[in-house]
């Protein structure tokens, strides 16, 4: 979907391109926020969330996860720049006509500056000034030598290669300072707000959150500043900046986690509730459906479906205007398939729990009073299932992010046109065995992925402790 916006915004006319996944990610983040806010009305749930955020670990990991989500959101506002008009060619056609670049950019690209537009010829090491491979060079005096050529962008602002280390030091300071300044501004505003109406949020570990936020912003500030001068994490085979690619992979990782889990939720909740509450033939049908799905090896079903969809895309190229839309469609299909194949566990849990709850006295009493099924489900059953839903959401998320990498390796993952950690790790397995080995692609993807998954895992542990009645009983 494309929307044209005339001159005035961003100083040039820009074609806002909305990918389906963009719409979904904003919708989903909104839905999750709404869900959590609606839970806050329940004093019991509020107490549980308070328990999560009154630990330092809970607050810090939450801030890290939110940083990832924020980057993913910023990376989900896409546009295509207008191409500069060519005066000589304009004679034959309407000069008002503006053509747009086939390159789809996002707001994240703007924030990162030139980082994505510094292509080298091929591999280069982190902070390198020269290429990784020797090439035949033509010296100014006409002599041909075989040597490492200078990089086109990495460190090209240096007049003298010996200034290298002092240049890094000099440029690091303002980078970190910029990041810290923005962080301090936000922290200050938040602190002011807390002072005014913060009585209800006392004894939460705000300080840990602030420190984490300041560290993230300082690191980001440094990375953006240095990334525009050097290739902080080197470049990959095609000469793209590895740091840029890894950062672009955040959107894919976050999206696949949220989207696939969110697709499972409505299916699992509806079917699980229906089976557990109404019993009888509905229960039989639901059980049959999920047993059938469970019996199929998950990876196989996913691989087969993705392959089929791939064939369909190849046969219907007219549906997609730019390459990224095709990649986006494939990506959505992947999320959808992942969702369809992974609702069964949650459904089974919810069914069992509903069976148990619907036998309880107060539900029986509600029946006797003639309360409608819908009201009973809404008032008595659904709230008692919320802990299972929340726990399984956070648990599934990290599993899906990891699954993406494996799927990409198998060749049924994200389209290569879309930056993803899975594709990077997949490439890295051959790069590492080169002589000398290339390790920075693997490291870049690994580090960002590891931080996200680790934060989510640690956070989900805390959520589990706070919400799972079993662990609550034990600690009491």
């Amino acid at each position: 979907m494309d929307f044209e916006i005339g001159p005035g915004l961003l100083n040039e006319s820009v074609l806002w391109t909305i990918l389906w996944s963009d719409v979904l990610i904003f919708f989903l983040v909104g839905a999750i926020t709404f869900f959590i806010l609606s839970l806050k009305k329940n004093p019991q749930n509020r107490e549980r969330w308070r328990q999560v955020f009154s630990t330092r670990l809970g607050m810090s990991t939450f801030v890290i996860i939110m940083a990832y989500v924020a980057i993913a959101l910023v990376d989900s506002v896409h546009f295509r720049k207008a191409l500069p008009s060519i005066p000589s060619a304009a004679q034959g056609q309407n000069s008002e006509q503006v053509f747009y670049s086939n390159q789809v950019n996002s707001l994240l690209d703007l924030a990162l500056g030139e980082m994505g537009e510094m292509p080298e010829r091929t591999y280069s090491a982190p902070f390198a000034l020269k290429s990784w491979n020797k090439e035949n060079l033509l010296l100014p005096n006409g002599e041909r030598v075989r040597d490492y050529p200078k990089l086109a962008y990495g460190g090209s602002h240096l007049d003298n290669p010996e200034d290298f280390s002092s240049d890094i030091f000099i440029n690091s300071l303002p980078g970190i300072a910029k990041g810290l300044a923005i962080a301090l501004l936000f922290i200050g505003l938040h602190a002011l707000w807390l002072k005014k109406n913060g009585s209800s949020t006392a004894n939460l570990q705000w300080r840990s959150g602030w420190i984490t936020f300041a560290i993230i912003m300082a690191v980001l500030g440094w990375l953006v500043t240095m990334g525009n001068l050097y290739h902080v994490l080197g470049t990959d085979q095609a000469g793209n900046d590895t740091l840029y690619e890894s950062l672009k992979g955040i959107r894919t990782g976050v999206l696949i986690g949220t989207l696939a889990t969110l697709i499972t939720m409505p299916i699992a909740i509806t079917l699980g509730l229906a089976a557990g509450y109404f019993k009888g033939w509905i229960d039989d049908v639901v059980q049959y459906i999920y047993t059938t799905l469970i019996s199929i090896p998950g990876l196989l079903l996913i691989a087969a479906s993705v392959l089929l969809f791939q064939v369909w895309i190849n046969n219907n190229p007219d549906f997609f205007e730019v390459g990224l839309e095709k990649a986006d469609a494939k990506f959505l299909a992947l999320c959808f398939i992942l969702g369809i194949t992974s609702w069964t566990t949650l459904c089974r849990l919810l069914r069992a729990e509903t069976l148990k709850i619907s036998q309880l006295d107060y539900v029986q009493a509600a029946h006797a009073f003639g309360v409608s099924h819908f009201q009973i489900i809404k008032r008595h059953i659904l709230p008692n299932l919320s802990h299972i839903i929340i726990i399984s959401f956070v648990l599934d998320f990290s599993a899906l992010v990891l699954a993406e990498a494996v799927l990409s390796y198998i060749g049924v993952g994200i389209d290569p046109a879309m930056a993803s950690w899975g594709n990077m790790i997949n490439m890295a397995s051959t790069e590492l065995s080169r002589e000398p080995g290339i390790w920075w692609n693997l490291c870049g993807a690994f580090f960002l992925m590891f931080t996200l998954v680790l934060s989510v895992n640690l956070f989900s542990d805390l959520v589990n402790d706070a919400f799972d009645p079993k662990t609550r009983l034990e600690s009491a």
């Binding site: 090896p297 196989l300 087969a304 969809f309 369909w312 693997l442």
Partner: protein
């Protein structure tokens, strides 16, 4: 007992029919045989005749469910559905789109898959339970919290990363073992030791954590508390009271996995070029050989259902209170 097993086997039939229908619909509603032929023969420079030949050759030229042109019983049997899907029930896998006999391929490749998966599985369980028990001895202490932290960290690392790094350092840098390959005889252990090691290490995080929480749950029950109150040592409680009583949930997790061992590990086998079922499947997926994928999906489901039945049976000898009826 026997009647129970027979009844369970009968229950399996509708599920297998469901699996079969689902895969069939997946393969034939979304894409026509022409699409499949094109995917196989290459996209651009293929003649219409070649496509039709391919379709006729592979038997995709029949109607999907009902053949009006045939007579009698053949109306149902001379269809794509019967030839490609129903025959799977008789374990007649037919030929792959490449023309190889799938059944003999599967039989050939089962051995290497098991040679890799079985040791990984057994060593994995042993290591995970040992680690979990060791951690449990220090329950509540700083060491315990540290160990849980390590488990979560190990869990957060991608499986691919374990393989890539393990292969790089163990095989390429230190040259302790061959990088990849497989050998049928006793001599083949050299090729298997690295994948088994990596598979075990990659599983420690999630596995040990799971066993730890399992043991904690059991240890909260009355008999464990009574044993402690009687003055039984912590180790005694662990090994004589908690471990035997945790057998049931351990079995639930373990027996169900056994049949999937035949399927091998998709990623591991292809990384170490072990000619097992996992890499067979992966190659089929990459070559878009739908006949193989369909047969393997069916086989996988059969094995899974067998695993479920085995789990139930194993309950009876793990816990005498369980009666199957």
């Amino acid at each position: 007992m026997l009647t129970y097993i027979i009844r369970r086997l009968f229950y399996a039939i509708p599920i297998l029919i469901g699996v079969n229908l689902l895969t069939f619909v997946l393969f034939f509603i979304v894409n026509t045989p022409e699409d499949m032929a094109r995917a196989h023969l290459g996209d651009k420079y293929v003649t219409e005749q070649a496509i039709q030949d391919w379709i006729a050759d592979k038997g995709y030229d029949q109607p999907l469910f009902f053949n009006g042109a045939a007579d009698g019983f053949n109306r149902l049997t001379e269809t794509v559905f019967f030839n490609k899907s129903v025959k799977l029930f008789a374990f007649d896998f037919g030929a792959s789109d490449e023309g190889r006999n799938i059944q003999s391929d599967v039989v050939d490749r089962m051995g290497p898959s098991l040679a890799l998966a079985l040791p990984t599985f057994l060593i994995g369980i042993w290591v995970n339970i040992t680690v979990a028990l060791m951690v449990l001895m220090f329950r509540g202490s700083r060491l315990d919290r540290f160990a849980v932290g390590v488990f979560v960290t190990l869990m957060s690392v991608s499986y691919l990363f374990y393989i890539i790094i393990g292969q790089h350092f163990m095989a390429k840098i230190s040259r302790l073992v061959p990088v990849s390959g497989f050998n049928d005889g006793i001599d083949g252990w050299r090729f298997l030791i690295l994948p088994i090691l990596i598979g075990t290490i990659a599983g420690i995080g999630a596995g040990s954590r799971w066993y730890r929480s399992l043991f904690i749950e059991v240890s909260g029950q009355d008999f464990a508390r009574t044993a402690r109150a009687k003055g039984v040592s912590e180790a005694g409680v662990l090994f004589r009271h908690i471990l035997p009583n945790a057998m049931l949930p351990i079995l639930t997790g373990v027996v169900v996995v056994i049949p999937t061992l035949f399927m091998g590990s998709l990623v591991m086998e292809s990384f170490f070029s072990i000619p097992g079922l996992g890499s067979y499947l992966l190659d089929a997926i990459r070559a878009q050989d739908f006949a193989i994928v369909r047969a393997m999906v069916f086989l996988g489901s059969v094995l899974y259902i067998i695993g479920l039945i085995l789990t139930d049976i194993s309950y009876t000898w793990a816990d005498p209170r369980v009666r199957l009826s």
